[in-house]
Symmetry: C2
Subunit: 251 residues, 2 copies
């Protein structure tokens, strides 16, 4: 019987066209499938918990694949890392239940978005944050973000072309904190629409910079009109932080 | 009379041959001199506080130049940043005394070296740390580093080809701390020999991994023999953190 292997994956999204294999462009999925092909001398399909866009990073993307090789489960970490380029690293491998599906079974997805409120950003940080002019403080940003938590139709924050039939999602939390000089937005939900996190971040900063409040956020959310929301924040600030498969997990 | 402008500069050293202009290769000094040339329509010479090697980063390199332009002193920050590539950023500009010299007048140089003690490093961190297998704890590393502080002949830690006549330097501090999952080595001295910080870091880790102690460090230091010291740690973990011009500064 084939084993179902679950991987936890981190990557620097800078030089990728995104998670998903595309005809033209270097994808994370493509790099890992290539490495699996080398290990198995056969084509394997890797299923990810979800796509990330070009430039978006991950510290804890999850994916799974079926293998009939004799490689011990834990050895997929060094074996894959020895083949993969440095901007993709496998952090963990474990054997999952036979029917485990990294996308359909994911209960909670957690993203982090890093913002540097400054005129200049250190070059060693500029690949991993959005540098933006804002005098927003954490308290103000948290007040604006508060109406997002709960079950809502998030059409106002879905990019044109989002394929989901229902735009209703459940957000568990949406909180700003300070971390080493960055404003960090941590958002956890059952699932996200296309570019939803970046649309939300761009909108919150825009509301704050314009002197707006939670009422403006509520009004945009209720409008279900993407044109009412703010600009999409750039990809390099965004990290897919973790994917959880247990609804009871503490987040 | 020409103004003497002091700059504080940060850079990501990954794609540079180092600070100093070289015939073949992209240097930080070269990029900034090119930008100054565009602003002045004339060649200007930029003097740095010291060289950094290829791959070494800086958060607070200092350099100075003389200008007869009408650009206001504070405006050199946006003016240069609008020309410079993203991996070099000017953080501050200020008018210095007429005879200020960023190298000869520097009293204290502070470096940080980032170590990740793990089998795997997040891709977003791998450009900025040395990933190394070690079970060293901070207390142990600090004990090994302790004999370095003070005035010593550091010949054992100078790379072959170091041009300094005297190898005697004054170290104010050499301390390991933990920071966001990294082991960070912070070292402050009046000046450093070529590759001295990286040789010291490599030696401390080697002593620690071999079960050695401060006595081994003292013995290597006293030997004045480079072959007794450990391997040079790689450049990507090293940041020139700050350069101070006041001996009384709190470091």
């Amino acid at each position: 019987m084939k084993r179902n292997i679950k991987l936890v994956i981190s990557y620097d999204g800078t030089d990728f066209c995104g998670w998903q294999i595309q005809k033209n462009g270097r994808s994370v999925q493509g790099e890992i499938e290539n490495a699996l092909k080398q290990l198995h001398s056969a084509d394997l399909r890797l299923t990810g918990s979800g796509r990330t866009d070009s430039g978006v990073h991950a510290n804890g993307q999850v994916a799974n694949f079926y293998t009939d090789s004799s490689i011990p489960t834990g050895k997929f970490v060094p074996a894959l890392n020895s083949i993969l380029p440095q901007d993709v690293r496998i952090l963990e491998s474990s054997q999952a239940a036979e029917d485990f599906h990294s996308r359909f079974d994911a209960k909670i997805r957690i993203y982090r978005y890093y913002i540097k409120a400054a005129d200049v950003c250190l070059p060693s940080q500029s690949r991993y944050c959005w540098r933006v002019r804002t005098k927003s403080d954490i308290l103000r940003l948290n007040k604006i973000a508060a109406p997002l938590v709960g079950v809502h139709d998030f059409t106002a924050f879905a990019a044109a072309g989002d394929p989901s039939e229902s735009k209703t999602r459940l957000l568990y939390s949406a909180v700003f904190t300070m971390e080493r000089g960055f404003i960090v937005f941590k958002i956890a939900g059952n699932a996200f629409l296309w570019r939803m996190v970046r649309s939300i971040v761009g909108t919150i900063i825009e509301i704050s910079n314009n002197g707006g409040s939670a009422a403006d956020m509520l009004s945009i959310l209720d409008s279900k009109d993407r044109s009412r929301a703010g600009a999409t924040a750039p990809p390099q600030g965004l990290f897919l932080d973790r994917v959880l498969y247990d609804e009871q997990a503490i987040i």
